[in-house]
Symmetry: C2
């Protein structure tokens, strides 16, 4: 099992390699990658060794080849997601072109507000949350995104679980309870700010 | 130095204690807190022991007293922040009432788009980014939030640093370089989705 931090770094490597390829760079050394990432040379070589025999010592890695190997390792294919709650945060997520570049595709959105149902945002149709289970069954969605107010988030988690989706990204500031086989990732923006502040005050 | 994870848990404890106090609960045991947090009883007791002598064995903790101690420990006072980029994500952040509840106050916002400058969103004035250093000098801002497109984020990081602010929350998907004394917290939403997906596929 490759550590989660290695996956996160791999995604950063893929982004950097994309930029290098765009600027016409064919070969990159672990030292150059280390400088661009603010990591040590040893760390880079250790990470890349996870992916089998790549590159040649002292010459470096072919940018195109390394990117392909990393993509096969981390992103076998496109991730399909569904979004619940087309409010401030939900609509910012729907409008963001960066997800598509990172191979994340939102295939449907749900809301309980009748004035939002039936709209299309950035190509994604907004359905009534009442029809969620039926609509999701027609998609290949693997992740459900919770962007509804906290008092509705557990209810929405239950809807996502009953539709057979096994992964949840939860933006609401309370933790949700799900069956064992379902994976949850809580993203709490406030906690990010407050723990940064704490670090600054206690350095 | 108390570990960052303890701070994050403390913020979750404070939220749970707030709800308990609202529902009229005066005493809570470490076992009850453990159940509500999905953590072990031992972990809860170890965390709370960081804050000195609190509560009485076998009886539990006074909800009001424990909340006050945790707040003094983690949140000595309000965190002031300034936001750069009043686009999809930036305006969602400005409109979010949850930050204020968590004692995070956005005191000014900056954009380069003339049609946004001079507006007020949720009580926060939007200024031209050209006047950022001057405006920030009149505030007590300790954190700068970067919500501009990635090609401008390094430039904005330089503006934040030159205004004397020592903490940066960076929402753009590229890493920024700052002097040693400045703290940076990168929040990359795509990486959260992709590493969740990776975990699901390799469980
Ligand atoms: N806006 C931010 O920057 C921000 C930051 C941190 C956390 N959050 C969290 O993200 C969530 C959304 O925040 P927001 O600012 O977008 O809120 P919002 O009120 O702007 O939007 C919520 C949306 O959810 C819809 N909704 C409510 N109940 C629903 C239900 N049962 N089923 C389907 N849709 C439902 C509403 O109609 C609305 O469109 C909240 O839990 C909030 O705590 C937001
Ligand atoms: N929207 C999302 O859900 C989301 C998700 C993940 C990451 N991000 C990241 O957050 C950032 C903002 O995304 P967005 O969707 O809000 O983009 P956006 O294009 O909607 O908004 C960007 C805003 O920044 C302003 N701006 C541009 N250059 C500026 C400068 N030099 N100084 C001050 N203001 C400037 C623009 O006028 C605009 O108002 C991007 O880096 C993006 O990659 C957004």
């Amino acid at each position: 099992r490759v550590a989660k931090k290695t996956i996160t770094r791999s995604l950063l490597y893929i982004r950097i390699l994309e930029k290098l390829i765009e600027s016409g760079t064919h070969i990159v050394s672990s030292k150059q990658l280390a400088d661009m990432m603010g990591l040590s040379d040893v760390k880079i070589r250790k990470d890349i060794s996870n992916f089998g025999k790549v590159g040649r010592p002292r010459i470096g890695y072919k940018t195109f080849e390394l990117k392909k190997i990393l993509e096969d390792f981390v992103l076998q294919n496109i991730v399909h997601a569904v979004l619940f709650g087309v409010g401030n945060l939900g609509s910012a997520i729907l409008k963001y072109p960066g997800f598509h570049q990172d191979r994340i595709k939102i295939v449907a959105a749900f809301d309980k507000d009748k004035s939002k149902v039936g709209k299309k945002i950035n190509g994604v149709s907004v359905y009534s949350v009442k029809n969620a289970v039926k609509i999701i069954s027609k998609t290949h969605a693997e992740i459900g995104i919770i962007a509804v107010p906290e008092k509705h988030s557990q209810n929405i988690a239950d809807v996502i679980v009953s539709s057979g989706v096994k992964g949840i990204v939860n933006f609401s500031p309370i933790s949700i309870s799900v069956p064992e086989k379902v994976f949850v990732r809580d993203i709490d923006l406030s906690i990010e700010f407050l723990s940064l502040m704490y670090e600054m005050r206690h350095k």
